[in-house]
């Protein structure tokens, strides 16, 4: 059994820069190749930002990803404000945190229910679950819609938010909007409890590999999503401006998404990284859930990233409710609403400069870096996306995993690999597409469809 040849070629698609494959090649029981190929035509966002006004950057870069468009928006705004020397007001920062909590919640629910759960329940997608687990599917769609509806009230929509721009918000929530958002979110609590119960009943694969985890860290008591230094479980700490030294991007021929490393060959970002670095700062209710499912830092089983997402979902729901309650008690200052096109009106001084945004988005820490001229036009742009930072680590995980499960059937090996990649939640489409698998050598390859 262990002397056999296995060649796995799993086609998939990444949200960041398109199509890719899992390629695993075992010859006479020995692992020869273990790669995550990213082969899709890139979209060159960094290239097309050059020549655009830094005030437009957020609008363009939110289009990098439909799922975490709010995260890109916030990282982009932070980089732009850093370059322009704008300090956002406390109210603006709180509302941005609210937006980020909503996005985290929305994305994690999508991943837990629509991607991870079907594997753990032994089906190909949520579609068969409509019949077998109707209440689960309805709950997932209901929770997702609630996040979406709250975003609609706050920023016009979740996919490509409208009113969050450089300087603040073009529209601020009225009293009735705060009430509506609070009703929606507090109404989600029973569904969240049911989600915790469901997740606690799921059994995750056992696999461990000691890994360096990277996430934002800070000295205050807040679980850092929007602000902080770059930290790692290997003891690294550096300001966000030094992000290039933290990521050390390099290009590999088999991937149009760049790879990264820090203290070791690779590192991981995302929910599990944040959980491992900032566990004590989680909302008490989230820590209760961690205790209930027995997840403790430092956890080095990548499959449990999904469990960390569950814990963060509880955290984000409670923190979001907390922010809204604060504004209910302290009133919104409506004078802070800003007019889009500040630059056209020369309302703020514009100077040449360079700025970095570092924001935790659902899949990990995201960096945007812009260099602008004296008119506020972008000269250079750089974006480092969480999924790219995880690619290298996923390959190292696969290298350790494949020999451990080589005695299993082709189907089981493939599923184990797919679930591993999926646990990193690289993006919805990549994960589900991975179920189209080719085994070359042991059987005739299937014809890939469109």
């Amino acid at each position: 059994m262990n002397e056999r040849n296995v060649t796995i070629n799993v086609e998939y698609l990444t949200r960041v820069e398109g199509h890719g494959n899992i390629v695993v090649n075992v010859k006479e029981g020995r692992l020869e190749t273990c790669r995550l190929d990213i082969v899709e035509a890139p979209r060159f966002f960094e290239g097309i930002l050059r020549g655009r006004s830094v005030f437009e950057a957020q609008h363009i870069t939110s289009r990098i990803c439909g799922i975490c468009s709010c995260g890109h928006t916030l990282a982009s705004i932070q980089a732009a404000e850093d370059a322009l020397g704008i300090t956002p007001s406390d109210q603006t920062v709180s509302l941005r945190k609210l937006l980020l909590h909503l996005e985290m919640l929305d994305s994690h629910i999508l991943h837990i229910y629509l991607l991870a759960a079907p594997d753990l329940l032994g089906v190909k997608s949520f579609v068969p679950l409509i019949d077998s687990h109707a209440n689960v599917v309805r709950r997932a769609l209901r929770m997702k819609k609630t996040c979406n509806d709250v975003c609609t009230v706050l920023v016009g929509r979740h996919v490509h938010p409208i009113s969050a721009i450089v300087g603040g918000f073009t529209k601020l929530p009225m009293e009735r909007d705060l009430d509506a958002m609070l009703d929606l979110l507090t109404g989600m609590r029973p569904d969240m409890n049911a989600t915790v119960e469901l997740a606690a009943s799921l059994k995750f694969p056992e696999f461990e590999r000691d890994t360096e985890y990277v996430a934002l860290v800070s000295d205050d008591g807040e679980y850092p999503f929007l602000r902080g230094d770059i930290g790692s479980t290997d003891g690294v700490r550096m300001p966000k401006r030094d992000y290039k030294e933290a990521t050390n991007e390099f290009i590999v021929e088999h991937s149009s998404a760049k790879h990264t490393k820090l203290s070791r060959d690779s590192y991981a970002v995302g929910s599990l990284a944040r959980f491992n670095l900032n566990y004590e700062k989680l909302h008490p209710k989230a820590r209760e859930v961690a205790a209930a499912i027995n997840l403790k830092p430092k956890c080095i089983n990548p499959y449990l990233n999904t469990a960390a997402q569950l814990i963060e979902s509880v955290h984000c729901l409670e923190e979001a409710i907390g922010i809204l309650e604060f504004f209910k008690n302290n009133c919104i200052n409506y004078d802070e609403a800003i007019l889009v096109g500040l630059n056209e009106q020369a309302k703020i001084p514009i100077k040449a400069g360079s700025g970095v945004g570092a924001v935790e988005v659902p899949r990990g820490v995201l960096f945007h870096h812009y260099e602008i001229d004296e008119k506020g036009v972008i000269i250079n742009a750089n974006c480092i996306i969480p999924t790219n930072q995880n690619l290298n680590n996923i390959e190292r995980d696969m290298e350790k995993l494949v020999p451990e499960i080589i005695a299993k059937s082709d189907d089981e090996i493939t599923l184990g690999l797919e679930m591993l990649v999926r646990a990193y939640d690289p993006c919805i489409s990549c994960s589900t597409h991975m179920l189209n698998v080719q085994f070359i050598g042991s059987r005739a390859p299937s014809t890939p469809g469109c």
Binding site: A41, I67, V340, G341
Partner: protein
Amino acid sequence: MKRPKVAFFDFACCEGCQLQVANMGETLLEVLDRVDVVEFREVMSERWNGPLDVAIVEGSITDQHAVERIRQIRERAAVMVAYGSCATIGGVNGIKNGFDLDDIRRYVYRADYRFFPTAKTRAIHQVVPVDYFVNGCPVYIPEFVEALKAVLQGLPYPVPDYAVCVECKLNENVCMYDRGVTCLGPVTKAGCNSWCINNGNICYGCRGMLSNPNEKGAQEVLRKYQIPEDLLIKKMDMYNLCRELDKNE
């Protein structure tokens, strides 16, 4: 009646428009009751390689591989729907067409740029015939539902060819020009219920230019508010640079 076979496909895009479908919430289950979704990578892993009644395509065509893939999909599909700005007008992917392609590849991938071929961005109809257009970045779900109803009944869905201003006025928004800001509403196709202006932002032209914009009127507005024409053109190019390829044909 047999439920029509519907599939979603994506090319170069952010997949946010497909996500808009998932964002419909439990209404999605009602839609799924009417159609047989045989392929939808964003939320499904099942695949289907046979003929399709309706192909809903998101994204732009940016390389030769995509050209071949969209042609294959077109052959399989009785009806093709271009879905979202990247598919209908090229969208932000079109900004690339304003650069030298080798230069932009080198900028992003440095010495290794040859590993990453690319071509001028094209909208779907610039490669294969398209039957229905659902504009927007992202698509506006109420409009998508209207268009889908038309598709399923075999009726045409005429994209509104009047300005966003028409809807904006009905929504009683203060004109962005009166607030001192340039807005693309006067030259952009309506159908989004002036989504962005309702939320305090300007129109960025994501739904495409009107087929017959009131150019004189627009120029008059620019003069009245002393706005340089090239500023407006630059804004239009964020979503609409691929329209140049329509002119050449």
